[in-house]
């Protein structure tokens, strides 16, 4: 008997807790850095993006109304699940061109980030909230709330680590997200989705697309039901496009260059401020 035949995984999208192919039925034939493997990756369309946004919007109320403690536990659960899939992720990073040590260290740091951000979920509020000493008989206080649906164009460099750190900083406060994973290195996208899928993250809270950035860039910024867009990268033309189209609905727009991403730990909870809104509430004080 010959060895058992290897079952290859079909690389699909992750939308609303399901793993569909692109509605466009397109794919990209991705070749590993050592030319040893060709893998077909789903190539998301604009319609896939719109569908994802609709699901992210639908998931928002439930997610933001969960307790912060619960959201922290779910993100911690993602760390647990990633730990158990460490070898798989390392293998995928190596296929993408990383040397073994670097790949291992990236996956380990990514797990650390998940643990780090899990801890922020029920703490950042106390750092950024305040009671305002107003000069009238009123109780006035200010607390952060999630901005809403956030679209993310993920980085190409150290993509697993930085995608996960940006993603964690977004969802921990109750936002939902639609990601376009690195076009150059799409393999970990599906593994990440599988980790998310088995971590009690409700369907629709995180949606992960793979495909071509140039096809989706404008839509990530211009969609009227997206509240914030985060762009990771250095391409000036792309940055300008993102900034321009985000004005159609006064979208919060954040450009994260490599040095911003490297600074993640030093930024601590300030990364969370990108996708929260401060709400001030007033009430009279009296008998």
């Amino acid at each position: 008997m010959a060895n058992q035949i290897n079952i290859k995984k079909t690389r699909k999208l992750y939308i609303n807790g399901k793993f569909p192919r692109s509605e466009s039925e397109r794919y990209i034939a991705w070749i590993s850095s050592d030319n040893s493997e060709t893998i077909n990756i789903a190539r998301a369309s604009r319609k896939d993006f719109r569908d994802s946004v609709r699901c992210a919007r639908g998931a928002l109320t439930n997610w933001k109304n969960k307790t912060a403690y619960n959201r922290g536990q779910i993100i911690y659960r993602m760390a647990e699940m990633m730990e158990s899939r460490k070898e798989q992720l390392i293998r995928e990073l190596i296929l993408g061109g990383a040397v073994k040590n670097i790949a291992k260290s990236e996956v380990e740091t990514t797990i650390d980030y998940l643990v780090y951000y899990a801890g922020w979920a029920d703490k950042y509020q106390q750092i950024f909230s305040c009671v305002n000493p107003v000069a009238q008989p009123f109780f006035s206080f200010t607390v952060p709330e999630p901005t809403g649906v956030v679209s993310v164009l993920c980085p190409n460099q150290l993509h697993l680590k930085y995608t996960v750190s940006v993603l964690s900083s977004i969802i921990l406060s109750g936002n939902t997200a639609v990601l376009l994973y690195s076009e150059d290195n799409p393999l970990p996208a599906l593994t990440l989705a599988e980790i998310i899928h088995t971590s009690d993250v409700p369907p629709g809270v995180i949606n992960i697309l793979t495909g071509k950035r140039e096809e989706l860039l404008e839509q990530f910024a211009s969609h009227m039901d997206v509240n914030a867009v985060i762009y990771c990268g250095e391409n000036q033309e792309e940055i300008k496009t993102i900034q321009k189209f985000s004005s159609v609905n006064v979208k919060r727009c954040h450009i994260l260059k490599d040095r911003n991403l490297e600074n993640t730990l030093n930024d601590g909870p300030y990364t969370i401020l990108r996708t929260v809104e401060m709400k001030t509430t007033w009430h009279p004080v009296g008998i």
Binding site: V134, Q136, K240, Q243, M278, T280, W282
Partner: protein, 488 residues
Amino acid sequence: MNKLLKDQSKERWEYSPALESTDHIQLKEKYDLFINGEFCPSESEKYFETINPANEKVIAQVAYASNKDVIRAVSSAKNSYNKYWSKLKPSERGKYIFRIARLIADRAREFAVIETIDGGKPIRESKQVDVPLAAAHFFYYAGWSDKLQFAFHGKTHNPLGVAGQIIPWNFPLLMAAWKIAPALAAGNTVVLKPAETTPLTAMKLAEVIQEADLPPGTVNIIPGDGETGKNLVQNPEINKIAFTGSTEIGKFIQSSLAGSSVKYTLELGGKAANIIFRDAPIDQSVEGIVNSIFFNQGHVCCAGSRLFIQEGIEGEIIDKLKYRMESLILGDPLDKNTDIGAINSKAQLERIDHYVRIGQEEGGKIFQSSCSIPDKGYWFPPTLFTEVSQSHKIVQKEIFGPVLAIQTFRTPKEVINKANNTPYGLSGGIWTDKGSKIFKISKEIQAGVVWANTFNKFDPSSPFGGYKESGIGREGGLQGLLPYVSLD
């Protein structure tokens, strides 16, 4: 038939005029630009008239800042930033800002009268709200100057450089204070463009800044129109733009800054929902509605222009509201008894008229206070619409006038859906005696400021700003410093 209204015609009180005196104020016939610590004519040699909207008389000629003037102002701000302001010890920087606060308070009456003459708002409001809050803003932020390291734990902060600031005509002095005070405290220098129809208190503020002896160029004030604002936004030497105004212009600014590294904050339009539950204290709610929509003739971005009343009490609330509207005194803004002053400009009056006409055409039922309207000036009576729904223009569009659109609702879920069904998210109101309901509903309203059992309250220590298309960033409080620093 509304019994309250019927009775009211018998018992209406007449008030004798109680005019605020104007003899102590100093107004020049001509105001020049304030650049580099001095008043100087515009390079364009152009002047425009600013008029009193209550009698259409010209108050003064004001220099119009051309692009050359913008360039001059920005370079003087940059020069001051490099030479003086960024080199100053933070505690000393604070002392200059404290001086401004004190000098505004000294001249409070003068500021109030000019604000009322130039903008049309009742003297009671300019005296009790605009001017004291403006002074308080400078006082509050002055104290932050040497405490910034404690505002941003674990980070080092740096000023941005030159802040270009564009403000609207509804709270001219107060908006100048909201903009200038945190910018200076954080170590930036300023070029401020006041609104075309209300430049005078900003020019008086320039006098105060000169009197406070700030290093030349630290604050520059250059009146002008949209073109001036555009030139300021597009000036390559600017590091930060702070804008308060319409969502339409806000989007234009955001788009035109694409590709640059200029930081910006936008405080834009609103269409706030004011929600009255069945268990609300009725009389307080009615006062709250009046304050939410008729304060400053409704020229308030956070005005409660959409009223939602829970079914069962709409009859009582609307009757009492109409009664209260009939007792509002519309007239000379300088009269201390006046509740409703003049509409800020002819253009704004036309805009309000336009929307009210559409409201009627679309089938809304209108009620207006029967107050008499002066012959001269721009006026609009307190107005409410019933029998309107979510799809009506007057429910969707920001009118920026004393026009209230009333709808009813049955369940909290329904009213939350309706309240949030707008691209705006600046403010909201809730009226109920039940504490748990306040926390639930205030959390669900997508807006930057929520007033519970009150409305239109402001304080320098209290952050203000919008969700969604109502803007980006906060003004006031510790959060109001963040837009004026970069963190490392």
